[in-house]
């Protein structure tokens, strides 16, 4: 379908390439810092420092130090930081990274003096599709207001309505709307094309990237900034994930706590972060001489249709994940034997990792034991809606450089998973096609993307 101004006719079947990556993670911000950290097996997991975690079952997380929104927006926009939840700051930081990496000249870079001249793209054909989570209210801010409307620990609606709520800044609600990640990013960089906010837990980034891929393919945009971001390194999210029995209790060994596919895994680790990528129509990228990391050739999505009650369990055979992978391979026009690398989502949960492994085995069939599987959660943890984008960026770089970073906490491997996980390395592998998977830990959404080593 055509969108935006409608001035350009639909160009069916356009090729889409990745021309920029912007990871914001506990092990590094920006493509090169992130990639080196992966190759050097660095861990960003530690005892939580942002607040005292001693009363929580899991007391560890992946935190990012010293992130300041002023480094990523024009001076005139700095005051908007006051109405940005941390999730939004992560997205705005990732946007600056990815735009810079892709050598796009947007309003933000021009205003900051980091690029000269006019934008090098048509802003009405510049779309955004940014996955977001359920943004946690700023607890201290809200607690202060609620406390002020209470007597002897009891909350009074009457006092909240007359006084308590007035302690909140008038724009309070805007800090927490999930679409504000995309809204701030589109404002700062002036992206006026199709714009969406997908909120499907850990599947959000893949669904957003997949939808942006479709948006460009059908000719509704030439360039899309897409991915996701979220922070789960806060008291509310740490508590929620704990209630769902999703977290590792290896508090005395944070760097070893997140153990995807390992036999002794005991849950995931919360973190904060995200990533955005630039998807671009091939001819648009070539015309401006952009560096091409890889080509995006397939997208598929599916649902477990299995367990609706929360906190929902994954389908034991990974049904939704298998549907998504098969659809993505079909979309890419390739058969399972052509897959050279699977970039897995697994984040160290007992049932989920096994479910994903079953899906991968089911799709790859006889070759499952031979196809390398990569995983980058060990040092990063799971931030929710931004996790998939970080995985995807790692897969893009692996395809681009022909190197797979090691999943350093994954041994001894769980025999029930039965995959060839690259646990030592890095290992050089020439990757023709790679599949990247993601799924919501609750809710049942699954998605897969297929990357291809770029050839003219």
């Amino acid at each position: 379908m055509n969108t935006a101004t409608g001035a350009t006719p639909v160009l069916p079947g356009r090729r889409v390439v990745i021309t920029g990556v912007g990871p914001v993670t506990p092990i590094g911000i920006g493509a090169s810092a992130f990639w080196s950290a992966l190759l050097e097996k660095r861990s960003g997991i530690r005892r939580v420092r942002a607040f005292d975690p001693s009363q929580f079952q899991s007391q560890i997380g992946g935190e990012i130090d010293g992130l300041s929104v002023g480094d990523y927006v024009p001076k005139s926009y700095r005051k908007a930081a006051k109405i940005m939840a941390h999730d939004i700051v992560l997205a705005v930081a990732a946007a600056h990274q990815v735009i810079t990496d892709a050598k796009l000249q947007t309003k933000c870079l021009i205003d900051r003096g980091e690029a000269q001249g006019a934008p090098n793209l048509d802003v009405t054909r510049f779309g955004a599709n940014i996955g977001a989570g359920l943004i946690c209210a700023d607890l201290p801010e809200l607690a202060e207001g609620l406390h002020s409307a209470s007597t002897d620990g009891r909350f009074s609606f009457a006092r909240w309505g007359t006084e308590g709520m007035n302690n909140l800044t008038p724009l309070w609600l805007l800090k927490f709307l999930p679409n504000m990640l995309a809204c701030h990013v589109t404002i700062v960089h002036d992206a006026e094309g199709p714009s969406n906010t997908i909120t499907c837990g850990e599947a959000s980034s893949h669904l957003a990237i997949g939808e942006a891929f479709r948006t460009i393919t059908r000719g509704a945009a030439d360039v899309c900034i897409c991915g996701g971001a979220e922070s789960k390194a806060n008291p509310m999210a740490l508590l929620r994930q704990g209630l769902g029995r999703r977290l590792s209790r290896r508090n005395d060994a944070p760097e070893q706590a997140c153990r995807p596919f390992a036999a002794d895994r005991d849950g995931t680790v919360v973190s904060e972060g995200g990533g955005l990528v630039i998807l671009e129509a091939l001819e648009h990228a070539q015309k401006r001489g952009a560096r091409i990391y890889a080509e995006l050739v397939g997208f598929g999505a599916g649902h477990d249709a299995y367990a609706p009650a929360q906190p929902s369990a994954p389908h034991p055979e990974g049904r939704g994940c298998a549907v998504a992978m098969r659809k993505a391979l079909k979309d890419a026009g390739i058969a399972p034997p052509q897959v050279d690398l699977v970039a897995s989502f697994a984040c160290g949960l007992v049932e989920h990792d096994r479910s994903e492994a079953a899906a991968i085995r089911g799709v790859l069939g006889d070759r499952a034991a031979a196809v390398p599987v990569m995983n980058v959660k060990a040092g990063i943890g799971n931030n929710g809606a931004g996790s998939g984008a970080i995985d995807f960026i790692a897969a893009v770089l692996a395809v681009h450089y022909g190197t797979v970073p090691p999943a350093f906490n994954s041994t001894p491997m769980d025999p029930a998973c039965g995959l060839k996980v690259i646990a030592d390395g890095p290992v050089d592998i020439r990757v023709g096609y790679a599949v990247s998977t993601a799924y919501a830990l609750g809710g049942g959404q699954n998605a897969a993307l297929v990357l291809k080593r770029f050839k003219e």
């Binding site: 101004t5 927490f176 969406n196 649902h303 249709a305 049904r319």
Partner: protein, 430 residues
Amino acid sequence: MMNRRVVITGMGWVTPLGHDLEGVWKRLLAGESGIAPTTIFDARTFPTQFAAEVKGFDLQRFLGPHYEPHKLCSRNAGFALAAAEMAWRDAGLNGAPTHNPEMVGVYLGGGEGPIDFDNFVAAAIAGWDPEKHELDSVRWAQVAAERLTAVKEFEQDPNCAAGHIACRFNAQGPNVNTLTACAASTQALGEAASLIRRGDADVMISGGAHSMIHPLGVTGFNRLTALSTRNDTCATASRPFDRTRDGFVLGEGAGILILEELESAKRRGARILAEIIGYGSTADAFRVTDMHEDGRGGAAAMRGALADARVQPQEIDYISAHGTGTEENDKIETLAIKTVFGDYARKVPISSVKSMFGHLIAGAGAVELITCVLAIRDGIVPPTTNYNEPDPNCDLDYVPNKSRKAAVRTCLSNSFGFGGQNDTLIVRAL
């Protein structure tokens, strides 16, 4: 690339005016109001003390034998499930499976579930250290771990409603939730249609659901001064395009439509209600607090949808406006319509059912698209009620107060989200 056509074969809604398709439609055409004093929580000291609540809702009555696995779902997921059940039956899909489950998907504009307010507040109050003026995360965690439960916490996740629906109808295809604020369900329907067009699915269960009628939702909108505060005359408080409008009225509910690939619908002999022919999506990229003063994003979304549908502005017989009843939206939407439609803007009937439903936020676009389909079916457009004093900035034909018979073949429906995400859909009689 495939060029498949997308039709609507079933519809269902849960609204402040009732839970049945035809009864609610009659009440809309009669200009009834779904707005009354708030009962969900004690709002008597809030600046806004009224809302358009869904009344007498019983999910079990809708789901019957399928109720059990969904019984703990959040309020908005319950609305979504009920509306989906209604739509699924309306489409005649409740018999033996007619489609490959991997080609049946869900795309919702579903809101977050309401917070577990009493327990959340108890923990927050216990955790606040007034001396140190900070949150004591140790004390907070003690109380929170005792009082909060996994079910109520995870049911707040905005992807839950779409998950419940997929499980109920064994929909193993694409499953997505968008939350672009007030534009969400229009966007969901547009993207769902795109998935069918592209061949990613044959059937999509799509629309939206939301309830922000809870203490923090109303607090948030009251602090933004976005809500009407006409507490004494609340039934007539939602006044889109009227000079005396003073903000929107919060509503709740769900609207779900069954979208289907045309040939698949024909093969199974489905009744076809209308075709989705155009979708446009844009961003204002202006300010998070205000719409662009020229209405550029809204105008671009409408133009995009018209281009996608390959129809001229003069072919649009009815516009279902976003029409929230805020000073800014109604003025700027009017301007955007004039920009796109030129002289024809004065001739096309435009109305906002938010005057009766209130604003369902993420669910608004879906219930409004349903009214467009019913307008096509019955040749009548619903009114904008509570319209008494013309505003010089809003000088178009808003179908004031009384529904109107009109030959309606093609309708355009707008939804503009807080923060500047804009979406437009066009539906046409097949």
